[in-house]
């Protein structure tokens, strides 16, 4: 743990975004995680994505559960709203907050323990309801805070630091998210920011349930030979199906890739993603194909990364429930208490 605060000085030539902020303005407190933790790179990627999108920090709510990953919201967006909830309950708190105020950007940060064990049900229901959020799982395959036991996402056959082989089957959160109807599903790696940053930016812009599984090596307990979530293993077995560039604002599109390999996806809110295909056969609009592709590659020990599925026409929970547009805290007395005539009308409709 570092005891000193990160110095306030910054590079004199630092780029500013539309709001006049540098990426340093999106930082939080200094990390208390172990040196080299993959989670810190995810933190840096969230900072970078929010900076690139020129997001006003006070329009973001970052919500987490318990665990190493769930500590990280303290390390980014120091001027945003935050809620550190009970273990595994991030999805429920986030759903509630989202129903109360749909104007904020919801960033759910969780880990493999928080989402694949104690909060597995919560995770499932927030996804199937289509809550408009960016759900990031910082997935290291171990329980770091309790000294490195296998988590539910540890691959069968992988070895612990002490050499014990995992005999349980792994939960693939990406496969589950696809099956439960998430409308933006991606996997990435904390050691590859060029892939991760645009994925987070695109997920934030996506209106619907966005899910990103980020493999994030645990330096203290899961970065050894025999681990399938180590830097070396992920780098060797990473099969990226595509790369994307998020096209922000009115900047002209500069696409310098070979024709036919780039696909511009326009999302519901008008934002655009330039998808650069690495695997010519992969179609990011085919949910069923994605699930098959994923299973096939997992069987070969490969880790499929990139934007795996996106539904540009996605709808969210508010659309399903036909809720009021305004945040609840902005509804005045007249809207909340429409009077006895209105009540009579409702009662009559139910008779």
């Amino acid at each position: 743990m570092t005891y000193i605060a990160k110095p306030k000085f910054h590079h004199p030539g630092l780029k500013k975004n539309e709001l006049g902020y540098t990426h340093r303005d999106y930082e939080g407190k200094i990390s208390t995680l172990c040196a080299g933790c993959g989670h810190d790179s995810i933190t840096a990627s969230i900072i970078e994505a929010c900076f690139e999108l020129s997001i006003e920090p006070h329009r973001v709510a970052k919500i987490s559960g318990i665990g190493c990953s769930s500590k990280t919201p303290d390390y980014f967006l120091g001027n945003s709203h935050g809620f550190n909830s009970v273990h595994g309950r991030m999805p429920s708190v986030l759903t509630g907050a989202n129903l109360a105020n749909r104007d904020l950007i919801y960033l759910g940060v969780s880990g493999d323990g928080d989402s694949a064990s104690i909060g597995f049900g919560q995770f499932a229901h927030s996804i199937r309801r289509g809550v408009n959020m960016t759900y990031i799982v910082e997935n290291n395959g171990v329980y770091g805070l309790t000294k490195g036991q296998f988590s539910a996402t540890a691959d069968r056959g992988s070895k612990s630091k002490k050499g014990v082989v995992n005999t349980d089957n792994a939960i693939d959160l990406v496969a589950i998210a696809l099956q439960l109807g998430a409308t933006f599903v991606a996997r990435s790696f904390s050691g590859d920011k060029t892939q991760l940053v645009p994925l987070i930016a695109a997920a934030i812009q996506h209106k619907g349930a966005s899910f990103i599984d980020v493999i994030s090596p645990c330096i203290a307990f899961n970065n050894h030979a025999g681990s399938t979530k180590s830097f070396d293993y992920v780098r060797e077995h990473n099969d990226a199906v595509n790369r994307l560039d998020v096209l922000v604002g009115r900047e002209p599109i500069h696409v310098d890739y070979a024709p036919g390999t780039v696909q511009v996806v326009e999302q519901h809110d008008g934002s655009r993603i330039a998808l650069r295909k690495l695997d010519a056969d992969y179609d990011a609009h085919d949910r069923l194909g994605a699930m098959t592709f994923l299973q096939k590659h997992a069987a070969k020990g490969q880790i499929v990364t990139g934007l795996l599925y996106v539904d540009p026409e996605a709808e969210d929970l508010h659309a399903h429930l036909n809720t009021v547009d305004a945040p609840l805290n902005r509804l005045d007395e007249k809207a909340l208490c429409p009077g006895s005539a209105a009540l009579d009308k409702i009662n009559a409709s139910l008779r």
Partner: protein
């Protein structure tokens, strides 16, 4: 780019910008840390070894270190390095027992012409080795221009006495009031070597109409300052014009303010911003209500039957030609006559060697300067060396000291039968500063304080007494605050590629975005691809290869705070903070062996 060779002594030396910029290469961050620790005597001795006159330089140095200071690239102002040097001198204990003792005499005799900083530096380096050094000076006391040209309100006599005495106390023979009028005669006295540190003693003349007629009230700046210093001049007219824009002009105008000049003006040919005077000296002059008028070229002294009444100036403006060279051309405005009672001419200094006879074996170049080797300081007479302003024209004290060290080394090598052109390499120490998992032997918590101002004596009192020192120096609290501003640039970020697992922790934590992992490329291309692109080619990129992904680690040294967070957040110890100390070679400080030449 090729991987950086960090074992080359110069690589890390350049990262310590202040030390690299200092002609004597004083280990600045090292002594600033000692000040912060309250070890003033230790801080003083480090300075004494490098620059010989810490107390004097702490008040008067031209401070090439400060414009170079990295802090100035990170926020508004550099660390007040110079004034911290004075802190070491002001608060030290008695250090006499720490000075070298005169060694047993080796029978060799050295004559030093002039008792200023260059000669004294040579004598200080040579006397402890057993040389018999004889310093000749026309003035009764040692110090040269430090004593005669720098006003006492900037540099009190007590400080000069103290620091010249430390040197003379090493068994040096000082012959005050003894002017050398003939090199030939000196050569005939069979000294083993002669060092000429006689300065640039002649003030440049301003030969315009009226100069001769009004001579009684027109004074040459440095001569006038020295007369003031010796008490021969005690007053000046009410209205004074100082001509010239260098530091001597600043000393002249401020001295004039103290000798009865109530309406003192500095008038310069060039623009205010291009003046040669250091910014802080201009500031001090302005603070004492001395206006500085610019773009005015003096064309005539106006007098009434030999009594000076004013100076006429032509108004000019700056024009730049295609090559960017500046020319001063008449602006077309009418000439202006400024009334005055006295004029001080401070338009430059010149060397003069009337005492060096043509048949002494000393060759001169077309500018009438002796031909001097810039490394060995040898002249064309193998026994005669030059240094300070006498070698390459007017510079300043710290350059004179640096010349002195090098000349002393040459003299020592020559008299030890070695080749003086073979210069030994400096000794370098690099050692890890890690004390615990997240603890370092230096304070890596970066202070965000702005530069602290040095307290000044009240202006009314200061202007009444020409001997009252204007700057009071930092007190200990201010000194500590200022010392904390130092970024410890000598504690280097050292990268060991085979240990790196490319986790990006250092990239993410670096507050200055100095570190990038990327594909290698040519320097210009690489500079554009950095996390924070850097166009500053004078600041090195530290490149390391040998990473598993085939990328290279590139660290831009430019604005690194040396906070050590990269090393703190590195899980494998691939980054380490290592203190770099370089021992510049002085006479006698290294073994004298020819085998060292290529070491």
């Amino acid at each position: 780019m090729k991987p950086t060779d960090i074992s080359a002594p110069d690589y890390f030396h350049k990262v310590v910008d202040c030390q690299w910029a200092c002609p004597a290469h004083t280990p600045v961050p090292e002594y600033i840390r000692l000040i912060a620790e309250g070890r003033y005597s230790d801080a003083y001795m480090i300075n004494w070894k490098s620059n010989v006159f810490p107390g004097i330089l702490g008040r008067t140095c031209d401070r090439p270190c400060e414009p170079a200071c990295r802090r100035g690239r990170v926020e508004e102002n550099p660390v007040a390095i110079c004034r911290l040097k004075r802190v070491a001198a002001d608060f030290k204990d008695d250090i006499k027992h720490r000075l070298p003792r005169p060694g047993p005499k080796n029978g060799k005799r050295i004559a030093l012409v002039g008792g200023g900083p260059a000669s004294l530096a040579v004598a200080r380096d040579l006397a402890p080795l057993g040389y018999h050094c004889t310093v000749f000076d026309q003035d009764p006391k040692a110090g040269g221009m430090m004593r005669t040209q720098i006003p006492k309100f900037r540099l009190p006599d007590s400080v000069i006495d103290e620091e010249t005495d430390y040197i003379l106390g090493l068994g040096i023979e000082f012959k005050g009031g003894h002017r050398i009028d003939s090199l030939k005669q000196l050569l005939a006295e069979n000294y083993d070597a002669i060092f000429v540190g006689s300065g640039a003693p002649r003030g440049r003349e301003l030969d315009i109409p009226g100069r001769k007629e009004a001579a009684a009230n027109i004074h040459i700046g440095i001569e006038w300052l020295s007369s003031v210093s010796f008490g021969h001049v005690e007053k000046i007219g009410r209205r004074v014009i100082v001509l010239g824009g260098g530091n001597t002009a600043m000393d002249c105008c401020r001295t004039a303010r103290r000798l009865g000049g109530t309406d003192v003006k500095v008038i310069v040919r060039s623009g205010f911003d291009e003046m040669k005077a250091s910014p802080w000296e201009k500031e001090d002059a302005l603070h004492e209500d001395i206006p500085i008028l610019n773009y005015m070229v003096p064309i005539a002294f106006i007098h009434d039957n030999g009594k000076l009444t004013g100076v006429t100036f032509q108004k000019v403006k700056a024009e730049y030609d295609a090559k960017g060279r500046r020319n001063l051309v008449p602006s077309g405005e009418p000439d202006e006559t400024v009334a005055c009672d006295d004029v001080l001419v401070a338009v430059g200094q010149e060397n003069a060697f009337p005492w060096i006879e043509a048949d002494c074996g000393i060759e001169f170049d077309k500018w009438h300067m002796p031909k001097v080797d810039p490394t060995t300081f040898a002249s064309t007479n193998p026994k005669v060396f030059f240094g300070g302003d006498a070698a390459f024209g007017p510079k300043n004290i710290i350059w004179a000291v640096a010349h002195g060290h090098d000349a002393a080394l040459s003299i020592h090598k020559m008299l030890s039968g070695e080749d003086i052109n073979e210069r030994p390499l400096p000794e370098v120490h690099v050692s890890s500063q890690k004390m615990g998992i997240h603890e370092w032997s230096y304070d890596n918590d970066i202070s965000t304080d702005k530069r602290f101002k040095v307290p000044h004596r009240d202006k009314v009192i200061a202007l009444k007494d020409i001997r009252a020192e204007v700057e009071l120096g930092y007190d200990l609290k201010l000194a500590l605050g200022e010392a904390e501003r130092c970024l410890n640039c000598d504690v280097q970020t050292v990268f060991t590629a085979p240990l790196c697992i490319e986790c990006d922790a250092c990239v993410d934590i670096c507050p200055m975005d100095c570190i990038t992992f990327t594909q290698n490329g040519e320097e210009d291309d690489l500079r554009q691809r950095l996390k924070a692109p850097s166009p500053h080619h004078d600041q090195a990129l530290y490149v390391a290869d040998g990473l598993k992904t085939g990328r290279v680690m590139v660290k831009d040294e430019d604005v690194c705070l040396h906070c050590g967070l990269c090393a703190e957040r590195c899980p494998t110890g691939a980054w380490d903070m290592q203190k770099y100390l370089i021992d510049m070679v002085h006479a006698g400080s290294t073994c004298q062996s020819k085998a060292r030449s290529a070491a």
